[in-house]
């Protein structure tokens, strides 16, 4: 049984053909050529901490946990060009006199998160060749974009009113957390921290009814999100909660990122990239990253796809056979009923939490992506092994899931009973594209039916206006020949229908893949239910495609939620 964010679409990798096989060879060539660079990338004194080399043990990211209801962390976002030419972006914090990168932030529902962010991004900002930049197709990306604010770079005034998005601008999005869309909490429209600005403080409270699970953080400066996330700027957030299924199991926190090496041959337009696992390149011929699994013991995996473009179809194979993975949560929200799947479709920004079956004695396993057909004009997402699972007689020296006091029952969590409410509005939206060249740039749109498609600009008015208290059903189509990934800020949504067919046991997600149109027949679509009942949702925020070059390219729009009357 496959899961496509719960088995919504038939996942396959059948659209291979000679062209894709050639591209796969290009990817492998790129990977091989880039590998040498990875091995020596940090020979010089780095600004960013060293990242692990290929073929070594996968370590969980460093943890920072809340204490007495507060998690306070100082992060600096900085960049460094490795000797391989690749531009790394790293979230750095100091721990016991050492620089550490991209910590996992662990909090409980109701905790306060204080994150002090310093922007230390310096030129050069990226290392992508011209042809790859063209792939990041749009008329705005990699060019400054004016905004309506008053804040000047380096000034002590409030970056809540940014004036211009520059390659050195940044901010943070707490992806999936249901927190207010306001500056200092989770605003990406007006908040811009320029390089040289004083340290900027994020201060937000995890809602007491926040579902326990995996979330993540990443930059969201429009036009430059791809560059910074592709450079590695991301980290996991875990909202703790007791679960009898996972308590006491060895926990693996896996952040899958995606890099675009610039060395070597191949055609960057075809999107050669390398997936990394907790920063370790997953390159088979260098030795895959590995995890020692205790023979005969189930283990708990939390996986976030922090890649920029790659849609993953994750599998755990033992002896070449895909194993049933007991999925307990998607996008941070526990499933009503944990369900076994052999393939988990994970779009960029998606998260899956599952229990891997016990590794039998004498067997090895591999954690992999089986590849994804992103459509006739989509990126190539080839099959790729990610992690080798080695048998061990001992449990790994990894974080053991903590036993926390029982939290609020799921039934009373946020979004409870959403399925049974009557929507107050119905809306129809669609993804579409228009190009004047086979090589880009392409204009990318997400449009409310009846409105004129337009490439997103930070000054745009909201495309949708609604009120606190509303419950809306949105049908979102993909009218283009490549897959798109719908993401809603601030909210999870309930996936009610897929391709017009009601979902029997709908899941709450914040990111969902809509496959490419095949060129004939109906467009693929989802109908999702949006819950604007929480008064903290009031404000203006965005929805967009989470394939990040699409987002940077303008496949984004604003929604304004007015306070209740």
């Amino acid at each position: 049984m496959d899961i496509y964010k719960s088995g919504y679409f038939g996942a396959d990798y059948t659209g291979v053909g000679m062209r894709n096989i050639f591209r796969l060879l290009q990817v492998l060539l790129m990977a091989t050529l880039a590998a040498g660079g990875f091995a020596t990338a940090w020979a010089q004194a780095p600004i960013c901490p060293p990242r692990p080399v290929s073929g070594t043990l996968v370590q969980n990211p460093p943890d920072i946990s809340s204490q007495n209801g507060v998690l306070s962390v100082d992060l600096t976002l900085q960049n460094q060009q490795g000797t391989d030419g690749y531009m790394h972006y790293c979230y750095v914090y100091m721990s016991q006199g050492q620089q550490m990168e991209a910590p996992t932030l662990r909090l409980n529902p109701g905790d306060q998160l204080i994150l002090n962010l310093t922007n230390n991004i310096q030129e050069p900002f990226d290392s992508f060749p011209q042809k790859l930049k063209l792939k990041f197709k749009n008329r705005h990306m990699l060019m400054p974009m004016q905004m309506g604010g008053t804040h000047q770079a380096g000034a002590p005034d409030d970056p809540c009113h940014g004036t211009q998005v520059l390659p050195s601008s940044t901010n943070i999005h707490f992806h999936g957390l249901n927190v207010p869309p306001v500056c200092h909490q989770d605003d990406v429209i007006n908040t811009l921290i320029q390089s040289g600005d004083p340290t900027f403080q994020y201060d937000t409270q995890i809602p007491a009814n926040e579902p326990p699970g995996m979330y993540w953080y990443h930059p969201h400066a429009h036009g430059f999100t791809f560059t910074q996330v592709a450079g590695g700027a991301s980290g996991a957030i875990i909202v703790e909660g007791s679960n009898p299924l996972t308590d006491g199991l060895t926990e693996h926190v896996i952040v899958i990122r995606q890099e675009f090496p610039t060395s070597g041959g191949g055609d960057p337009e075809d999107g050669p990239s390398i997936l990394t696992v907790n920063f370790q390149p997953a390159i088979a011929n260098l030795g895959l990253p590995f995890i020692n699994a205790q023979v005969g013991h189930r283990e708990f995996w939390r996986v976030v796809n922090a890649g920029t473009t790659a849609v993953l179809n994750l599998q755990m194979q033992y002896g070449g056979v895909a194993q049933p993975l007991q999925v307990i949560a998607l996008d941070g929200i526990p499933l009503t009923t944990p369900t076994n799947y052999t393939t988990i479709n994970l779009p960029p920004a998606g998260r899956a939490e599952f229990i891997a079956p016990a590794l039998p004695s004498g067997q090895q396993g591999v954690f992999l992506t089986a590849g994804y057909n992103s459509g006739p004009i989509g990126d190539v997402d080839p099959p790729a092994p990610l992690v080798r699972i080695r048998p061990s007689q001992q449990s790994m020296q990894t974080y053991q899931a903590k036993h926390h006091p029982a939290t609020t029952p799921i039934a009373t969590k946020r979004f409870a009973n959403l399925r049974f409410l009557t929507p107050t509005s119905q809306r129809n939206l669609y993804f579409s594209e228009e190009a004047i060249s086979s090589n880009g740039p392409t204009s990318l749109f997400i449009t409310v039916v009846g409105q004129k498609p337009r490439v997103f600009h930070m000054d745009d008015p909201p495309a949708i206006t609604t009120n606190v208290g509303a419950v809306e059903d949105w049908t979102i189509e993909n009218r283009s020949g490549e897959a798109h990934v719908f993401h809603m800020h601030q909210l999870h949504f309930l996936v009610m229908e897929v391709d017009g067919v009601p979902v029997t046991n709908p899941d709450m997600l914040d990111t969902v893949t809509i496959p490419a149109w095949s060129g004939s027949g109906a467009y693929h679509s989802v109908k999702v239910r949006m819950d604007f009942r929480d008064p903290n949702i009031a404000g203006t925020f965005v929805y967009h495609c989470h394939i990040l070059d699409h987002e940077d390219g303008g496949m984004m729009a604003k929604i304004q939620v007015n306070p209740a009357n």
């Binding site: 062209r19 008329r139 337009r454 009218r479």
Partner: protein
């Protein structure tokens, strides 16, 4: 090898000027003029280890089911670009059935190849400045009797070459250009006196080329369509036979073309014509007839304007009035066979006949396996229609994922 040699001999014979009879009478249906029509593609192979080629196809089939048959491919001494701007021509000749030379851009190696049409022999490859480059989105070509112009999309330069006997070219100089809004060069078109340029940012410009080297007419401007909707980007260009009008195909969500009056010797403000229907409903048909309209091509009699809907796989036709420059909605083809599997973009178009409506329309189909679409053009009174041939598409066995531009012999007479 032997069979290819025989084919080549046959083709040389067929293309010998002595074989070229008078053009057939104007026709509005698919009949095959004598001599036969050849369609030639710039295969544009962008693979570093492969030499780019042009491929020859011969028109045939029946009037109700026209066809193309692959003949052979000719290496042209460089590396292609693997695609590029839909609206830029990368294979051109003089619009004359006595034309001797075919000029083809090798975008990957930054040079222009020249091929003798009759012998199919490569006459040479010609470079401009060492800094001229067009690897990202190709090298567009345009010419008149004395000069060939090449638009390099990376360096934003227009190279001027003097056309010499024997299909030789002599580089004259480069002209640096830039769009009004920071965009790069997109496509060019020329006649004896004017060179017209589109940029990828909604602006257009013309140059006086009476003396060969382009001299700006100081008329750079945003197009009217772009001003109204910045999704509309003038892209491909055609010029009427009398040089009175320039017609721009817009990269646009709904099929849009623009027309500029050239009477003054410069570009007048364009008139914009939206021919596409609005996409408002949530259904498969609401894709809106005609996404993208970057390629435009007048019929030989200038009564029809053919438009490639690059991203929706249709061909739209508008009725063109050569007296006023006006365009009115005509017809749209069904989505062509093979859209999204195996091809996914439409490129340039040529007609089989050199008079009337053109009879049969051939269109480049870019995809993981590039091909040529074949449509009968049906005109009756004030209506038009397209019927895709049962033999369409015809695969280009050499191009792979790169076919944007094709050319026909004998060429349209302007």
């Amino acid at each position: 090898m032997r069979s290819q040699f025989v084919l080549r001999v046959v083709l040389i014979f067929a293309l010998t000027p002595a074989c070229f009879g008078a053009h057939s009478a104007s026709t509005t249906s698919a009949s095959h003029p004598s001599p036969p029509t050849y369609v030639v593609t710039n295969d544009d192979a962008g693979i570093v280890f492969d030499e780019n080629t042009i491929s020859y196809f011969i028109a045939g089939g029946s009037p109700s089911a026209p066809s193309l048959t692959y003949q052979n491919s000719v290496p042209i001494g460089g590396v292609g670009g693997g695609g590029g701007n839909f609206g830029a021509s990368s294979i051109v000749s003089l619009p004359d059935s006595n034309a001797q030379c075919l000029y083809v851009s090798n975008a990957g190696s930054g040079a222009i190849a020249s091929v003798n049409i009759q012998s199919q022999a490569l006459a040479g490859t010609f470079s401009a400045s060492p800094t001229d480059a067009g690897t990202s989105n190709g090298i567009g070509l345009a010419l008149n009797r004395n000069y060939l112009y090449a638009s390099f999309t990376d360096s934003n330069t227009i190279a001027t070459f003097q056309i010499l006997p024997g299909c030789q070219l002599s580089f004259v100089n480069d002209t640096n250009v830039a769009g009004l809004n920071g965009g790069g060069i997109y496509a060019i078109a020329a006649n004896a006196t004017i060179l017209i340029v589109t940029y990828g940012d909604g602006s257009i410009q013309s140059f006086n080329v009476s003396g060969g080297v382009p001299i700006s007419n100081n008329d750079e401007q945003n197009s009217t369509g772009y001003i109204a909707d910045n999704n509309n980007l003038p892209s491909g260009i055609d010029i009427t036979q009398d040089g009175h009008y320039a017609i721009f195909g817009d990269g646009a969500i709904l099929t849009t073309v623009e027309v500029s009056d050239l009477t003054s010797g410069r570009l007048a403000a364009t008139r914009s014509y939206q021919l596409g229907a609005s996409a408002t409903a949530v259904s498969p048909t609401a894709v809106g007839p005609g996404i993208g309209s970057a390629n435009v091509r007048l019929s030989p009699d200038e009564r029809l304007l053919f438009i490639s809907n690059n991203q929706s796989g249709n061909i739209t036709a508008g009725f063109f009035n050569p007296a006023t420059g006006g365009v009115s909605p005509g017809c749209i083809s069904p989505r062509l066979s093979g859209f999204y599997n195996p091809w996914f973009y439409l490129g340039s178009m040529v007609t089989e006949n050199t008079s009337g409506s053109g009879g049969v329309l051939y269109v480049a189909e870019f995809g993981k396996q590039s091909s040529i679409g074949i449509l009968n053009i049906n005109v009756s009174g004030g209506t038009c229609g397209f019927t895709e041939s049962a033999n369409s598409p015809v695969s280009d066995p050499v191009s792979g994922a790169a076919l944007i531009s094709l050319w026909a012999y004998p060429p349209r007479p302007f």
